[in-house]
């Protein structure tokens, strides 16, 4: 197998990984700070994509679409937190799952009601579309490089926010001891709304960025949500660093597994059968990875030690 193909696939894995990170970061923050399992996180991803498609379609500007995605998802997140989620912090996890699952259905049918059942159009702006030639002669889509860049920039920004700002200190304190920071005079419910909106905005951004190369349709968030849960379980629940490492691991495992396992199987099987069984096993790859990580470290790579 040529080395160019391997490098290209590693780039693909990285790009997939950083987009997963945008989803997983919000999910892990919300779980870490508020102890809430939010199944509706995928719906916020969808809200971002639809907002971007609608605004980009109306104004012709992809950039305005991105802004709209951030604003719409953050706004939807804040509303959901204030109206529904706030009543669930003290509830059992099963109640949270039930309520946020209901939110998925409400968001999906609501979106269909507004936008219809047919997929929407959202395309990459001309300035960053098409392939570029990288050193070494690899032709790679420029937009995917931009995605990797945005993902890494968001990761650095989040790190700075959590480690270097006052809000970040409050978030970290909230993870450790909720009662104590409330006693210290910090408005905990405002903090929760803020964290929820931040997580939602990241999901919306991911939805808009990915929607431009995939299809913007109802139900697009749920497959990504499942992967994001795998990521935070691998990385350790509540850890942003864990979400980053976990997302890259999942992205690379999924991409490289899908390409190289069938090739590996071809060494000792007939080509057609190797294709089928190789891709079947590759689709289990990330779950096998999750199992192995959990055997080795039951709280995830960067999770708090039990």
């Amino acid at each position: 197998m040529p080395s160019l193909l391997i490098i290209e696939q590693i780039l693909n894995g990285l790009q997939f990984g950083v987009m997963l990170f945008l989803m997983a970061a919000g999910l892990t923050l919300i779980f870490g700070v508020m102890g809430l399992i939010n199944l509706a996180h995928g719906s916020l991803y969808m809200v971002g994509a639809f907002a971007a498609a609608a605004v980009a379609g109306a104004t012709g500007s992809f950039f305005l679409g991105l802004v709209a995605a951030l604003v719409a998802a953050a706004f939807a997140g804040a509303i959901v937190e204030i109206v529904v989620i706030r009543r669930l912090y003290k509830a059992a996890h099963l109640d949270q799952v039930l309520a946020t699952f209901a939110l998925i259905l409400i968001f999906s049918e609501g979106t269909r009601w507004v936008f219809g059942s047919f997929p929407l159009f959202l395309d990459i702006p001309d300035a960053i579309s098409g392939p570029v030639t990288l050193p070494g002669g690899i032709e790679y889509p420029l937009y995917r490089l931009v995605l990797i860049g945005i993902g890494l920039a968001v990761a650095v920004g989040l790190w700075a926010l959590i480690e270097r700002t006052r809000i970040g200190i409050q978030i970290r304190a909230g993870e450790n001891d909720r009662e104590m920071i409330a006693a210290l005079g910090i408005d905990i419910s405002k903090l929760y709304t803020l964290v929820f909106a931040l997580g939602a905005a990241l999901a919306g951004l991911a939805g808009a960025l990915v929607g431009a190369i995939q299809s913007v349709q109802v139900g697009m968030g749920e497959p990504v949500l499942i992967l994001a849960f795998v990521v935070i379980v691998i990385g350790g629940i509540g850890s942003i660093r864990g979400a980053f490492v976990g997302a890259l691991l999942v992205g690379l495992t999924d991409t490289l597994g899908g390409v190289f396992l069938p090739e590996l199987f071809k060494l000792f099987m007939e080509a057609g059968a190797a294709q089928r069984s190789g891709s079947a096993i590759a689709s289990m790859g990330i779950y096998i990875l999750m199992g192995l990580v959990l055997v080795w470290r039951p709280t995830g790579l960067f999770g708090a030690r039990a």
Binding site: L5, F16, D123, S129, Y143, I213, S215, P223, G258, R276
Partner: protein, 377 residues
Amino acid sequence: MNRRVLGAAAVAALCATTAMADIKVGMITTLSGGGAGLGIDVRDGFMLAIAQSGREDIEVVIEDDQRKPDIAVQLSDKLIQSERVDIMTGIIWSNLAMAVVPAAVNQDVFYLSPNAGPSPLAGAGCHPNYFNVAWQNDNLHEAAGAHATAAGYDRSFILAPNYPAGTDALTGYKRFFDGDLAGEVYTQLGQTDYAAEIAQIRASDADSVFFFLPGGMGISFLKQYADSGIDLPVVGPAFSFDQGILQAVEEAALGVVNTSQWSKDIDNPTNAAFVESFQAEYGRLPSLYASQGFDTANLLLSALERAAPSDADAFREALRAADFDSTRGEFSFGPNHHPVQTIYAREVIKEGDVFTNRIIGTALENHSDAYAADCKM
């Protein structure tokens, strides 16, 4: 007292409507969730034909299967046992059809498929009460293979999702493609990122690409393929190029050749009238699914002119005769009650502001299917 009078009036009114609807049709189709666009088109095409017939003695009960086999089975039981429908139709997906159709036709209900055509129902599992008005699943892929051969391609890279219809698609393509394969890849069902597969296409020495990725999968693939800078010709079945999907893909699909038994520019009066009235009624161009729904209803109407469903043998003969004006022009049933029809090669074009298809040639003429010989009825 008043309430009792009203109640009696309501019962009387109910009896009146039941008495008026002599023929009851049950439609189970996908109206919510990911694949809703297809079901909505089939329903709209079907109801358009019923409305145009002017018959008021036909009642259509429409149910949403949410693309879930278990729900489809529940709905089918309800339609047969409590609604007592004479005829059923509507199912889009082959896995749902396999769950519903065999049980339904064995309870003496007629089933007219407007879309799904799984191979078991065309071969050993065929049934006198089952008619497929669309195609056998392999047909459009076979036509794509025939077109690729005719176009002189000899190294195709082919891909489809790893599920039964995906395997059938690649098998169908290979059945009519004479060249070699530069690669054969099974993707995950529901996959949205095709960067890895596109890199494999780039690294291979293919001269053409065939793909079967229905719904959102095809949208993702086409956009990413167009952005990758690879300019190999692409061939596919019409499912990834229907009217709903093209508006979400736009330029990325221009020039792609796809195979279909229907196109809005097939030149016959029925089709012209259908396209015009569909657009007037619903404000959008019809898709091939809409044409299939429309043809299914017209087949049903033509049979009802000759016989009532209560006379099962006569009604079956009337269906088999397929004496209706199809939007496809020539249309007849083979021995396994599946269409014998011409399949066209179409090209994606831009017509004003709208992306649509234009026929560029015939891929297979009077084509039946590979399973008819296994059907004993």
